[in-house]
């Protein structure tokens, strides 16, 4: 057994006479020292780090790791019971049911057709939302990077929706978009006809994407703005002297140097888009039909709102979604490292 030498404790010294607050603090900390100093002697300085991270580790373990492990266990069990001990082991049945499909492009042929509808809906949402988000966030960041009047005000305006609760955003837009909503009132006032924005499947999908971009764009705009401001001004001056016009300055200076930031934005928005739920749910409830039902809503419906409360099936879908998110996260890390290395 290795004996750890007692750590030499260096007392706090100062040339100045300690003030009242400092003396109070010293008195207060004295009992703590009584615990910490012997503990440090026993554990050694290096191992004390574990002691300090222990509270956070406990919280992380109880509220993140334990539920993850339970979810993984649930995905191999069946029945409606909530207590793990009361749930019978069903092996990979839940995964088979989830993934068994005659034709993945035609959900009707799948055992869990709603899951596959949700997968396709999520795929479409991710593609259009992330593409739209990046284009709009980039354009906005470029505009806000210019010396325009009221720049600070506009930055706040674009960031403001990020501060709103997703459910509040969903409800506000629902009032705007429903048949007797504000938008239709405007259309009718201009002589147009009422539109079924939340009843037609394609319109519903479109608006879920638009609302999502509106609500989140400010966050990504801010990241891109920081990226734009980190590009040295001298490069633009050099390009200007070389005769590059605005488009070429963007193409050959801004875009390549913004790529590392752009990658971060792409991966972050991808991960967030795959998790789409609350805002869309508040806006459309997943309808019409299942047109705006996404994977997380499928998990929620299956585990919580279906009468049979198929927690095992919902947990299996969570594991599949977790796998997809893990791939995206690893891709982000690898891309990030590669970009850093290239830099």
């Amino acid at each position: 057994m290795t004996t750890i030498p007692a750590t030499k404790v260096i007392p706090y010294r100062t040339n100045r006479e300690p003030g009242f607050l400092a003396r109070m603090l010293e008195h207060l900390m004295h009992p703590v020292d009584e615990i910490i100093i012997p503990l440090q002697r026993a554990l050694g300085t290096r191992r004390m780090a574990y002691f300090f991270v222990l509270p956070n580790l406990l919280i992380f373990g109880i509220f993140i790791l334990l539920p993850m492990a339970l979810n993984f266990y649930y995905s191999f069990t069946g029945s409606t019971a909530l207590q793990p001990s009361e749930r019978p082991w069903v092996g990979t049945d839940n995964f088979s049911r989830l993934l068994n499909c005659g034709d993945y492009g035609n959900p009707v042929t799948c055992d869990e057709d709603i899951f596959w509808r949700a997968v396709w809906n999520t795929g479409g949402f991710v593609f259009f939302q992330v593409s739209g988000m990046i284009v709009f966030a980039l354009v906005t960041a470029l505009a806000l990077n210019r010396q325009i009047k009221g720049r600070g005000f506009f930055r706040s305006v674009f960031f403001y929706p990020v501060l709103l609760s997703p459910v509040v955003v969903g409800l506000i837009w629902k009032w705007i978009l429903q048949r007797d909503g504000v938008l239709n009132a405007g259309i009718v006032a201009l002589g147009g006809e009422q539109m079924n924005f939340l009843v037609d499947p394609n319109w519903s999908r479109f608006w879920v994407i638009v609302v999502s971009i509106w609500a989140q764009m400010g966050f990504y705009t801010l990241i891109l703005l920081a990226g734009l401001q980190s590009i040295p001004h001298e490069y633009y001056e050099a390009a200007h002297i070389d005769g590059a016009d605005t488009w070429n300055r963007f193409r050959f200076v801004t875009f390549p140097l913004l790529m590392p930031t752009m990658l971060v934005v792409v991966v972050l928005s991808l991960i967030r888009a795959v998790q789409v739920f609350d805002q869309a749910f508040a806006l459309t409830g997943g309808g019409p039909g299942t047109a705006t039902t996404y994977i997380v809503q499928y998990i929620y419906n299956t585990g919580f709102t279906s009468t049979s409360r198929e927690a095992g099936l919902a947990a299996a879908a969570s594991v599949v979604l977790g796998g997809a998110l893990l791939i995206l996260t690893v891709a982000q890390l690898k891309l990030g490292r590669r970009t850093e290395a290239n830099h």
Binding site: T80, L198, V199, T284, G286, P288, G289, F304, T307, G312
Partner: protein, 431 residues
């Protein structure tokens, strides 16, 4: 010396214990009722509870209204509390099979358990029991509900179209559809029919059209000509512009939208139920004349779907005697009668149902709905009081919404409903 010290310590402990007990005895008891409102019954219950509190100083009762946008979310909120060991003292429930085994048995706590057995339908009391050997008393029906149509009579008058049921006891769905369409067109009303998107509302319709929900072996089955006919009609209303597609686009909001449209005079014919009378009456006021009409007829007769919510106590309560006292108070004929009148509810109490209630409001409508009760088809009772009642009705509205949205054909929807129900029952039985 030691003995004296021991005596002092024991005396102090005893005194402290007595003081704590006395304080505990004086502590007011607060009972918690988990609740949802369809209409004005929350206010009616509050009035009844005020009477109980006045008669039982030291006991206060709070109503926690957690909303009912989705029946499964409502019940799973209670279920998580029950499984966590901290259930509400009492709750209003309608998916009663979910909590069997967790209800507080009032047969030993009630001051008059015989009264309970005489006052409520044995089938309703049975629905709370765990099996034939269980003779406990666990709760009582707050109301008896039946699904039925309501019409805007003022619109019929304005359109100068005769109300079909005024001259004919057996009006078919097609006749009602034609009449409602005629009225809507004549009066410029946006919608002819609003049908609340709930599977349970669809049982009566499909049975009337000849639907058979159980096969010869007694198993749940969907694919019958009656179901198809009813489903085709329902889908055609939306596709032909007679019904607002908004009602079926967002299922959680559907019943609210349908009722709001009826209240706003935007729809001629609403299919809802007795549970909506209070809310509709409060919203409509004197704006127009409306009434409940008999359930439409078809080859399977004329039937609505029965139902009703129950008030139950939970075993996990800290105050079982207080819960029993409250339940005994609420089931008294005068208290329950007043509650039913104020809520515009059909009573689930046998004595009150037989004697009839002097409703001060909506009397004609409630009488018309009462007349629907004897016509309820046996299948509808079997569906409602089955252990799998919610399992059966849940996929119906979701899958029909997919047909209306153009995602599924009716054939695919029928196959999907059957599979959803079979899978759900297999999952329940796996435990």
């Amino acid at each position: 010396m030691h003995r004296r010290l021991l005596f002092v310590v024991l005396a102090t402990l005893l005194a402290s214990l007595l003081a704590v007990s006395a304080a505990a005895a004086q502590d007011p008891i607060t009972l918690r009722i988990t609740w949802y409102n369809d209409g004005t019954e929350g206010e009616a219950l509050r009035a009844a509870l005020d009477g109980f509190e006045a008669a039982n100083p030291g006991i206060t009762v709070s109503i926690e209204d957690i909303g009912y946008a989705d029946p499964n979310i409502y019940h799973s909120t209670i279920q998580s509390q029950v499984e966590a060991g901290s259930p509400p003292d009492l709750a209003r429930v309608n998916n009663v099979s979910l909590f069997i085994g967790n209800y507080l048995d009032l047969s030993t706590l009630s001051a008059n358990p015989e009264y309970w057995l005489e006052s409520f339908s044995p089938s309703v009391l049975d629905s709370l029991r765990s099996g034939p050997e269980d003779s406990g008393v666990y709760g009582f029906p707050l109301q008896f509900t039946i699904t039925a149509p309501f019409i805007n009579r003022t619109l019929f008058e304005q359109a100068q179209v005769a109300v079909p049921s005024d001259s004919n006891d057996a009006v078919t769905w097609d006749e009602w559809t034609a009449a409602a369409q005629q009225v809507a067109e004549a009066t410029g009303t946006p919608w002819a029919i609003a049908y609340e998107p709930r599977g349970q509302r669809f049982w009566g319709f499909s049975i009337s059209e000849g639907g058979q929900w159980f096969n010869e072996e007694g198993n749940f089955t969907v694919d019958t000509p009656g179901f198809r006919t009813a489903a085709e009609k329902l889908v055609s209303w939306t596709q032909n512009g007679l019904s607002d597609p908004q009602i079926w686009a967002n299922l959680a909001d559907g019943p609210r939208i349908a009722r709001e449209q009826f209240i706003a005079g935007q729809v001629v014919f609403l299919y809802s139920g007795s549970f909506a009378v209070g809310g509709l009456a409060a919203g409509i006021g004197e704006t127009f004349d409306w009434s409940a009409v008999p359930n439409p007829s078809g080859p399977g007769g004329s039937t609505g779907s029965p139902g009703g919510s129950l008030l139950v106590g939970f075993q996990g309560t800290q105050h079982p005697e207080a819960v029993a006292a409250l339940m005994d108070y609420l089931v008294q004929e005068d208290v329950l009668g007043q509650f039913s009148i104020a809520s515009s509810f059909l009573p689930g109490h046998l004595g009150l149902a037989e004697a009839g209630l002097d409703y001060t409001a909506n009397a004609e409508i409630l009488q018309a709905l009462s007349a629907e009760i004897p016509k309820i088809n046996e299948q509808a009772y079997k569906l409602q009081y089955s252990q799998f009642a919610f399992t059966y009705n849940r996929p119906i509205d979701g899958r029909l919404a997919q047909v209306i949205a153009g995602e599924l054909s009716l054939d695919d929807a029928i196959a999907a409903i059957q599979k959803d129900v079979d899978d759900a029952i297999a999952n329940v039985n796996a435990g």
